[in-house]
Each structure stands twice: as C-alpha cells, then as structure tokens.
Amino acid sequence: MAIELLTEIPSLLRPGYVVRFSASWEKEWASKWFRVLRTQQIKFDVPRIVDAAGTLDLDFSAPAGGGVGNTNISLLPESSKSIYEIVIGLKGLIAVYPRYNNSYFLKLEATGVLPDVTDANLRWLGFFDQDDSPFAQSRLREYTVKDQTPPVLRLYNQHGQTEKLVLRFICNRCRVEEVAESQLTEAERRLARHIEHFDLFTW
C-alpha cells in the first residue's frame, strides 16, 4: 500500500515466496509473515477520458453495490487470505498522482510543497506518466488487501484538449497463509518481499 516506481519490470510473487508486512498495516497484517500458496495473473485495462485541464479520481475500492464504476475499479481483495500485487502501466498524455487518505503521497518536506494541479508550478511535482511506466513495460507496483484504505490515482489532463489515458493493471492475485517467523529459514527471511504502508513515509 505504498506505490513504488521501480527501475526495471518487476517480477511477480510466485507460490512459495514469503512476504512481510510493515508495522503500520491493519492488525491482521501488521509485522506478520505470509507464504504465497497460489497465484493467478489477471490483466485489467482501464481507459478513461479526461477533459482539458480536468481531473478524474480512480479509487481502488468497489463502488456502492459492487462491480466496477467510472471512478471505482475494485482492486481490493474480498478475501482476508488474499493479497493483490498490482503492476500498473500507462498509455496516454495524462499525469497520474497517487493519493491515500485524501492526500497526496509524493511530496517534499517543505510546507506546502505538494502536488496541486491548480498551481502552475506544483502541478509538475509528484506524479507518474507513461514515460515512467510504459503500458507494455510496467514499472509501478502497489499491494492491496481486504478493507484497507483504498489507494486513489488522480488523473490530471494538463493539455488544452480532451485526452485519453489507458491504464493496464496486471493484478497478481495471491492466496497466502500466515507463517510464524520461527518457521522460516534465515534465507527466507532475508529474501522475503517487504510490503510497506504509506504511513511509513510520513516522518
């Protein structure tokens, strides 16, 4: 639940891999170790049109009534034994700002230095675009679990005419089971994938 921009195309979790959640997660997950039992890879293309100088928020939770809506894309698991590992690729000339808890995730430390699409200077801060994570060579990664604070991607069209963005979500749906740290070998602990929470970046 802390979106990452990687320098290469990430490898997906596979059966047998071990993951560890950081302490800020909800108590069912916090500081616990899990082993991946089964994985399934599901591709989900989400095209959206954004008006000139307009924004559109894409929320990872489900809309009221379930399914998928224009602003809700249902990328949180329903099972408490599932993790979604989501790799995101972009196609189109629209900037994407990650947000959690109604605030921007990528910001600098000085007061007020955070993305603001209405400000001519701050709109170029803390966003991703298709050059960072190309559609077919995705490098943005996110993890989600049931009932978590849903990540939101704010799409902003900085151009003078309507633009289309296509987001490709490769959702690696993982069935996991908790394992005690004492049952893991030293190598498994060292190689485990650490899944961070966005709170970790507030200091």
């Binding site: 293309d45 095209p47 959206r48 049109i49 309507t162 633009e163």
Partner: protein, 113 residues
C-alpha cells in the same frame, strides 16, 4: 484503389459523401492518423472547394465530448494531395468523417497504438 502495405495495425477508410463512420478505436487503444489523402481524379471541371471534417466521439470509452477537426481546401480535378498537418492527430474512440462531395475522394489511414 491499389493494394498497399499499411502500418502495423492500421485501417484505411475512404469517405463517401455525407457522414461515414470510419473507425472505432478499441477502448484500450489510442489511434493516430497516419495520413489523409485526397485523390480528386473522379472529379471533373473547375477547381473545387472541398470540405473535410473529422469527429471523434470517444464512443467505446464512455466519454461524451466530441472533437472536430475541419479543413476547407481547393482541389483541382485530377490532382492528388496529402493533408500532412493532420498526421499524428489522436483518435480516441468512434470517428466519423464527412465531405461535401460524392465519390471516393478522401481517404484516411489510422494506425493503432
């Protein structure tokens, strides 16, 4: 029209008179105009004012806006002209073209990305 090799995953459509629906770019694709050609050999007589208009209705993606690109050009019967400045224009959804003359005068090639 002669056989030709189009860019990878491209459509060519010739506008008839009136409204011609040309392309529905799939929702998970973007399209770009590769070239627009006028072939006025079917015309005869004096130089002819030709109006071409493209409308992009974003139909497959649920958008509601419509972008219109419009051009008026004087063509002399028998000549062939490319409208270079339209190359690269993005097509996001359903696309309609429209001209004021009958016959296979205007053809548009759109490549998918």
């Amino acid at each position: 029209m002669t056989a030709e090799i189009l860019p990878k995953r491209a459509y060519r459509t010739v506008l008839a008179s009136g409204n011609t629906q040309m392309f529905t770019v799939p929702a998970n694709m973007l399209g770009r105009i590769d070239k627009v050609e006028l072939d006025s050999r079917p015309l005869s007589g004096q130089p002819y004012p030709l109006t071409i208009q493209l409308l992009d209705a974003f139909a497959p993606t649920g958008g509601s806006s419509t972008t219109v690109i419009r051009k008026q050009i004087q063509v002399t019967p028998g000549e062939r002209v490319d409208i270079d400045e339209w190359a690269g224009i993005q097509i996001m959804g359903g696309c309609w073209g429209n001209t004021n003359v009958s016959g296979p005068i205007v053809s548009v090639v759109v490549a998918l990305e």
